[in-house]
Amino acid sequence: MTAIYKRELKSYFCSVTGYMFCAFMLLFAGIYTMAVNINSAYANFEYVLSNMSFIFIIIIPVLTMRVISEERKQRTDTLLYSLPVSMTKVVVSKYLAMLTVLAVPVLVMGLYPLVLSLFGKVNFLSAYSALVGFFLLGAGLISMGLFASSLTENQALSAGIAFLIVLINYFITSFAYYLSSTAAASLIALAIMVLALVVIVYVLTKEFSLSASVAIIGEGILFFVYYAFPEKLEGLFPAIIEKLSLFERFNIFTQGIFDISSVIYLVAVSAVFVFLTVQSMEKRRWS
């Protein structure tokens, strides 16, 4: 496991990717520290993080695009499959290597509040809790990029999928703002989501009875709630969407709140996508 982790980490820092990732992040951290903390004289480092979180849209796909796609394209994945190591360990090693690359600029950014404290009073607790949130946000987005990379052997496509996922995460809260919050609108949106889930279940399992029962149970519960307690559905869809966005979770940290439920949510999302990546790799044995 350590061998795979080391190789992966080395491949980031033997090529330009790792350096570019760190440099890009530190460049924007520098620009916003200058603008927010120095020029506008705010003592809150969390504002810097809140402002710069958009750069994940660009740098996450760069980091994750080749992690599994490349193995498949170069046919080195046969080596991974024939190693006496479980696929979970392989994927986790790769994920940890990417987290290490993310940790490098985050640790450097950890020095900024210390430097700022030389010139005034800085609230360390809120600054560092925001930094932890920032790292967890990155970790969650990387796990999604990792999954995107396991779907295709085309790096450009994998980068595209990762870009879309992060982009949707970023903009979905402002998008939810424009959605109708009536009970009927929520019902329709949720009904469509259940149908989409049914289609995914059917594509993955090819079992008609299973997907049909998912459809009947899901839609049944929805319509029951709609007719029995319509007020519960009011504004539910925009609220769900807002809750799903990783960026929205991170924004809680930037308001100076160390939100345990958000920590759990971000860690859980990472775990789910790492698990999905393992499944996607295992599935390849069957095709």
Binding site: K6, S82, L83, P84, V85, R285
Partner: protein, 314 residues
Amino acid sequence: MIEVKNLTRVYGNHTAVDNISFTVEDGKIYGFLGPNGAGKSTTMNMITGCLSITSGQILINGFDIFEEPEKAKKCIGYLPEIPPLYTDMTPYEYLLFAAGAKGVKRSQRKKAVLKAIEATGLIEMKDRLIKNLSKGYRQRVGIAQAIVSEPEIIILDEPTVGLDPIQIIEIRDLIKSLAKDHTVILSSHILSEIRAVCDDVIIINKGKIIACDSIESLESTLKGRLEIKLEAKASFEQIKELLGEFEVSFIEEENGYVKVSVLTEGDEKEVMEKIFNKFASVQKPIISMCRIKADLENIFVEMTEKEDNNDSNL
């Protein structure tokens, strides 16, 4: 030891490997022989756990490859058809990684890597990037990867494809030297290669095993028998009557000349003399008579063709 029991693999509605069973004994070199698309790579991928099976069972030293994959895979070194190389590493770095990933202890890793490098003749190339190496050297790095953890069983999928003749000889010698303390399975569609390297041969065609035996016994079954091709100016019935004691089969007839094949046993020259005398006594001229040599090539062609005929009869 590898035990393969009733192994089947289906892709969609195409059966790539159809209910095959065989056992690989320790300390021998096995050749996996078959035309392109016969199911060789599919079988090897399944034995090494890279591909799932539709039905059947594979035991590696008693460990089921899908029930206890980690223990089973530890016994195997595998070189796939396309060597799985990280081209931005040097052979030394790559082998160090492979040794680590395969669970070679840290203290022994460097020694194991140097041993594999030496065995595959990579000493001069060990610090160049793999992407700058020629195909032959890449193949060697692939083989070094397979042997670096000193597994008991080494599986090589077409190890000499795309190499020049000198490299082929070197790789064959390498494989032979590996067989001293490993069990080796290698696949090929080139007969002379299997003949030059292997003890036992498993012939596979269209996903089915059609022969599994040592090369000597396969050839000796043919060596005892004598097949003579004969052309004479006589009708097939007359020839059959003359050569009553032998098994005669008709090949073709042209302008009163009949070609037959005579199947028998015994010394080539004695039999030919006997046949000549018989024809001479009734004054039927023999136009030509020669022995058809039996070797692995013939077995292979005969067996694969027989299978094909059976299929077309169905």
